[in-house]
Structure formats: C-alpha cells, structure tokens
Symmetry: C2
Subunit: 129 residues, 2 copies
DNA sequence: CTTTCTAATTAAGTTGACTTAACTATATAA
DNA sequence: TTATATAGTTAAGTCAACTTAATTAGAAAG
C-alpha cells in the first residue's frame, strides 16, 4: 500500500501536479463533469482556491471549462483527451504492483479474494448511501 | 477509503500537524527509533527539511531526540508517551468506520473476508521480502 | 595528527497553496 | 423593477514547507 502511495505521489509530482490537483482529475474521471463549487466543498477549500486549482489544470490542458446550460454563472469542468490519458496512465502506474501480486496467487485464491471484495464493496455502498 | 483518508487528514490537521509529520510518528511507532537521515531518505527531502520537520514534533512534545550510542553525531528519534497516545488515537479515528462496516457483515461473510485478507497479506509479504 | 567525509543544525530566501476582500455576472425573490 | 443571493474570478497578502549554503561536531582514512 505504501509502495503504491509513493508511486502515485511520484507520478503526480513528476508531472508537476499537486496531489489535490491529481485528485480532481480522478474525481472527474470517476464521477463525470461537475462544477467549481463542488470542488470547494469536496476539498474543503474556498471557492477562490478551487478556481485557482482548476485554472492550473486548464492551463496544463487536462481539463476544459464549459458552460452549464442550466445556469450561465456556473461552469462545468470536463476532462480533456489529454487529461483522460494522463489519469489512465496514473492509475496504471499506481496499480502496477497489483499485477505482481496477482501472479503470486492461485486461481482458487483469486476467486476467494474476489468474493470477499465483492462483499466488502456492497457493505461499503450500504454505509455510504 | 476516501472517508478514512479524510478522517486521518482531519485528525492530523486538527492537531496542528501536517500529514508528513503525522506520518513520521506512524513510522516511529511501527518501526521503532531511527535517525534523521532515514527520514530524509524515506520522505525524499533534504536533511535540513528533515531536521525542521522533527523539530516541530519535538516542540509539540510528541518525540524525543536521544543520542545514538554508536555515533555521537547522529541522533535517534523516539516517540514520547504523549506521541504514543496521540498516534494510537489517530489510528482509532482513522479506522472507526471499519467498525460500522463490520456490523453490516454476517459471521460467514467476516470469515470469508478474513481468509481472503490472510491470503493477500502473505502474498504481499512475498512481494516485499 | 591532519585531512576528508558524514550527521545534524541554523539562517535566509523561494515557492506554492491557501486565505480574505473586492468585483463581475447571473439567478431568484420581493 | 429593485434587492438580495449565488457562481466564479482576480488581487494581495499570509504561511508553512521546502531549498541552498554555511556551520558545528564527530567519525574515518591517509
């Protein structure tokens, strides 16, 4: 786990992004487009800070600001092609070690783990929703 | 996982410590005493930064600097009583949600997960050693 | 013993992420 | 329509963590 953490942090840093910035990209990929104010809430920072944070991501070419059709004050953030590619690579980097781990497990062991994780995921969903 | 992350970060922040500072305390608890240079290596910062980082932990009363009996230039860092207490509370805070999760699982499900985790831990040990 | 290397610290300055405050533009309510 | 609230931005300044460079003390090698 520690190894993967380092991998992630290194990947983010080597690209010149802070961890929160990278995190925003991850959120965008996972949950689709959302607005500035949601970033502020989610990361517990002021709207001003959120704006500055996203500005850097826009300048880096990873996200695009698009107009919210329902509210012309608001802006939606969307992953660009480059951003998409970047995040996918980051995730691969982060989870590379899992491949090594999987190789060490028998088919039976893998099945057991898969089942256990399914149980856990369901329970966690119940916890959140 | 996200929830627990936030919990940890909040706990660290509310105590006035940065996450790296808290991380040093965790390492100290997990691996016992070690020296300044190891911190610099582990966190990929200069010795100067490591020194400043630990200074704050010393001032907060969480760790103590003791002399290395083998090398009088070097100093060993050790968790103080207060530091020990602080870390334990932090860990509890971080993993509180696991209790909620466990309550949602039947005895059978818990057994399956336990078995799967045992398999995983062994495989990871093999990966590291 | 003297030179050189290593561990840690301190001082000074840089950087980046954050804050507050002021502002623009749009939405909503009176 | 006017007033008020909301979404986002920009400017200015704060603060913490980092860097480099200089310093002290002890270790290791010649």
């Amino acid at each position: 786990m520690h190894r993967s953490m380092r991998g992630w942090i290194r990947f983010a840093r080597s690209s010149g992004l802070s961890l929160p910035q990278f995190s925003v990209l991850m959120q965008l990929r996972h949950r689709g487009s959302f607005g500035m104010s949601e970033i502020a809430e989610k990361f517990e920072i002021t709207p001003a800070a959120a704006s500055q944070l996203t500005e850097k991501l826009v300048q880096a070419g990873y996200i695009e600001r698009i107009e919210d059709p329902n509210d012309r004050r608001a802006k939606l953030l969307r992953l660009s092609k480059a951003g998409e590619k970047f995040v996918v690579e980051g995730v691969e980097e982060r989870y590379r070690w899992i491949n090594d781990l999987t190789k060490r497990l028998s088919a039976e062991e893998q099945a057991k783990i898969s089942e256990a994780l399914t149980i856990l995921i369901k329970a966690m969903e119940g916890l959140i929703l």
